[in-house]
Amino acid sequence: MFSLKNIAQSMLQPLLAIIAGLAVGAIAILIVGGSVGETYMEMWKGAFGSFYFLTNTLARATPIILIGLGVALAFRAGFFNMGSEGQLVLGALAAAVTVIYLPGPGWLRMIAGLLAGITAGGIWSAFAGWLDARFRLNLLIVTLLLNYIATLFTGYMAAYPLKDKTGSAAMAQTVMLDKAAWLPKLFQGMTLHAGFILAVAGTLLLYLFMKHTVKGYEISMLGGNPLFAGYGGVQRGKLMIASMFASGGFAGLAGAVEVLGTQYRFLDGALTSPGYAWSGIMATLLAGSNPLGTALAALLLAALQTGGMGMERNTDVPLEVSSIIQAALILFVSAKLTLSFIKRKKARSKNGSAV
């Protein structure tokens, strides 16, 4: 009984936010001269309208969920890891290179590719953590700057040493990976691949890790009050490197599953231009670094993006309006429109001017 009431209350806030966000979107649609009802219907269809679109949305959510989990882990420990994008592309390149050059059966190369992605993303992220711990460089700035190094480095690798010279297209990309090492598709003819299962499993594991393990506890305490953690004997340095490694590892895994499950090669810009990393960070911020909430928020963001594409395909409303709706929704969700404000007003009217 209590839980039902609680759930209803906790749902009310995001629901109000979504309604408010859609209302702002409606204004934008009216300004460009579209029909509000039709546009929203097309958006809905584009995100969830059929089994194909639903799985498409889930596929898009996969890397966002993984990146969001990594960022959430670092945030919980009190570290602002803004380097997801660099960790993502390095993970993707490492996975591609591993699968291309490693001998052996396909399944083994696939697993090795995933592990290589985790390791590459993790090391890049832990490196930023080490710079902070060793030289007191500001972690936020370091992780942001390392993004440039990583994206430009992978771009160079794809354009020169690892460039696919077999095809006719002059794209900065590696050769196609051996089909035996691909992540399996979950449904015939759909884009959704096994990486989604990894993302769901990662969500649950991270949730359980934070709640039930000693290290998860220490990470929360370190993030909550670093002085308290230090006073209690938590080893900040070690824990920082470890949590930064895990954080970057999630982003690296996101890159690896995209390469092994969607692109089947490393293609420069394929991971950066959809803004997966920033959507992941956004999902984390929206959910207050809660792992389950991060996954849900990632799904919402992915749905807004695929829905926006559907809208663009079938109406005259441009894709930018979808971005406006997305931004408005995020603003309203993140504003803590708590009910306390309404409650206080009620109390005031009840007691007259006395309080």
């Binding site: 039930h212 393990t213 000693v214 290290k215 506890y217 220490e218 929360s220 305490m221 909550g224 009050n225 002085l227 308290f228 953690a229 230090g230 006073y231 209690g232 004997g233 938590v234 080893q235 206080r344 109390a347 005031r348 007691n351 007259g352 001017s353 006395a354 309080v355």
Partner: protein, 499 residues
């Protein structure tokens, strides 16, 4: 009647902080509000000052109902509050701090000279001398307190709320403050004084209202009351006096030799500190705060490495070792600042209780949550910690209850050595009695305790030996029998005469 609060009720979730509390204040009256931690004193005053909205009840000023929706409303109605933790900008001057919010202007510019003149005028009018041009950070705490009161007076306050005003002051500063309160009351200002120090309350107040569990248990005239009666009204029972029983002193547990710590400044923070704490012994360190006590504790507990000297715990050299190594060598630590070091405010009671206990309550790195809840739950009932549940966030606990949680957590480490820094700061008499009892029991069991306290009475009551610190040096050692408040005060002040 200047101010009336009528049947105020306020609940946080399932916990009622105020239950139908009524409170009256006359003009020129000093009205003390006493009660244990969590009794609802602070909540009541936050309601009066517009920081909280009551669930029901009424506030009347000069017989006219008023609504306080923010501190701005309260200030406009002539109510000012001096918080327990000073709210001053330490890098700004005294005058700048006092005129904040209503700065005198010259065109569009801030007229600093006028501000200083206003400050001087105010301080002369009320007999509270301050230097308007001095930086607040350079003023002693007693002067900072004075600045807070002048700031409130500048805002035009007729009713001044003082929340635990003497907590951080030296005995001399306390005397000056109480005198100033009396003088202002004689000039027609009214005071509400929140305090747990009954002797001070009895000295300065006209009327005393006692709160217990959110309800008023009585309002008495100070001249017709005494400490025993007030204690009884506060805790609902008689307090037991604890005595230190003699006990065999054992081998040294903690040995410091020649500890030195250089600060950024020319003067050393710690200078050649040597002493030991033995089994079955409480060693008290007295001194005006800021004379190296904090640094000494940080060195011993591993939060800061000394530049020279050795620290031996149970015969093992631990100087410069990390905290976890020193803790496993046998140290527990009640920190001096509970909010800074002692808890994570956003974490739950259970999570805060777990710190330092993870090794005992895990299997393969997985926390045994049931055991942990049982452990913390036992502390909650044994120490009478007032909390909604174990999942309540620490920030919702009152200071005293938080302190009890920290004390319970550190005692439960069952280590041979315990640091107790300001173990009862801001804690009411009931909780103080209990914490003192627990410390003495640990000593009785052969524990070695290093006590650091700015309360002389506490140091005198608990310690077997008393060391006095001044400017990073140990300037004296007294046995419990030889120590008196006068002797210690003299040493604390560097041998100069104290008033």
């Amino acid at each position: 009647m200047l101010l009336e609060m009528d049947a105020i009720t306020k609940s946080y979730g399932s916990v009622a902080a105020n239950k139908g509390v009524s409170f009256k204040l006359r003009k020129g009256e000093v009205h003390a509000l006493v009660g244990e931690n969590g009794a609802g004193k602070t909540t009541l005053m936050r309601i009066l000052y517009g920081m909280e909205t009551p669930d029901s009840g009424m506030i009347k000023l000069n017989g006219r109902p008023v609504s306080m929706n923010s501190p701005m409303d309260a200030i406009r109605n002539g109510i000012g509050m001096v918080h327990q933790h000073f709210m001053l900008f330490s890098s700004f001057t005294v005058a700048e701090n006092i005129v904040i919010g209503r700065e005198p202007e010259k065109g569009v510019l801030f007229d600093r000279k006028a501000a200083a003149a206003e400050t001087v005028k105010l301080s002369e009018q009320y007999g509270m001398p301050v230097d308007p041009w001095k930086k607040v950070g350079e003023c002693p705490l007693g002067v900072q307190q004075r600045i807070e009161i002048l700031k409130v007076l500048y805002q035009g306050a007729e009713v001044i709320i003082l929340d635990e005003p003497t907590g951080v002051l030296t005995p001399l500063e306390v005397k000056e403050l109480l005198l100033a309160i009396r003088q202002l009351a004689d000039q027609g200002k009214s005071f509400i004084l929140i305090s747990h120090k009954l002797n001070e309350v009895l000295e300065v107040a006209d009327v005393i209202t006692v709160l217990r569990d959110g309800e008023v248990t009585g309002t008495v005239k100070a001249s017709e009351s005494n400490e025993e009666q007030l204690s009884r009204m506060m805790v609902g029972r008689n307090l037991v006096q604890q005595a230190r029983a003699g006990i065999q002193i054992g081998k040294p547990v903690l040995e410091l030799a020649g500890i030195g710590l250089k600060g950024g400044k020319a003067k050393a923070l710690l200078d050649n500190i040597t002493f030991s704490v033995r089994e079955g012994e409480i060693v008290g360190i007295a001194g005006i705060s800021g004379n190296g006590q904090s640094e000494l504790l940080q060195v011993i507990s591993g939060l800061c490495a000394p530049d020279s000297g050795s620290v031996k715990l149970q015969g093992k050299e631990v100087a410069g070792s990390p905290v976890h190594a020193i803790r496993s060598a046998g140290m527990a630590h009640i920190p001096e600042d509970r909010y800074q070091w002692g808890v994570s405010k956003d974490a739950t009671v259970a999570e805060n209780g777990l710190m330092g206990h993870t090794k005992r309550h895990q299997r393969l790195g997985i926390l045994e949550r049931k055991d942990i809840r049982a452990m913390v739950g036992e502390w909650v009932s044994r120490f009478g910690i007032k909390t909604g549940s174990l999942a309540t966030k620490a920030q919702h606990l009152s200071g005293g209850n938080l302190q009890k949680l920290i004390v319970a957590r550190e005692l439960a480490q069952e280590t041979p050595f315990l640091i107790a820094a300001e173990p009862t700061r801001g804690v009411d008499v009931g909780a103080m009695e209990m914490i003192h009892g627990e410390l003495l029991r640990r000593r009785q069991e052969g524990g070695a305790i290093l006590l650091v306290s700015s309360e002389l009475s506490e140091v005198l009551k608990l310690s077997d030996r008393i060391l006095v610190m001044l400017e990073g040096k140990m300037v004296g050692e007294l046995s419990a029998e030889a120590a008196t408040e006068e002797k210690i005060s003299l040493l604390m002040a560097g041998g100069k005469a104290v008033v």
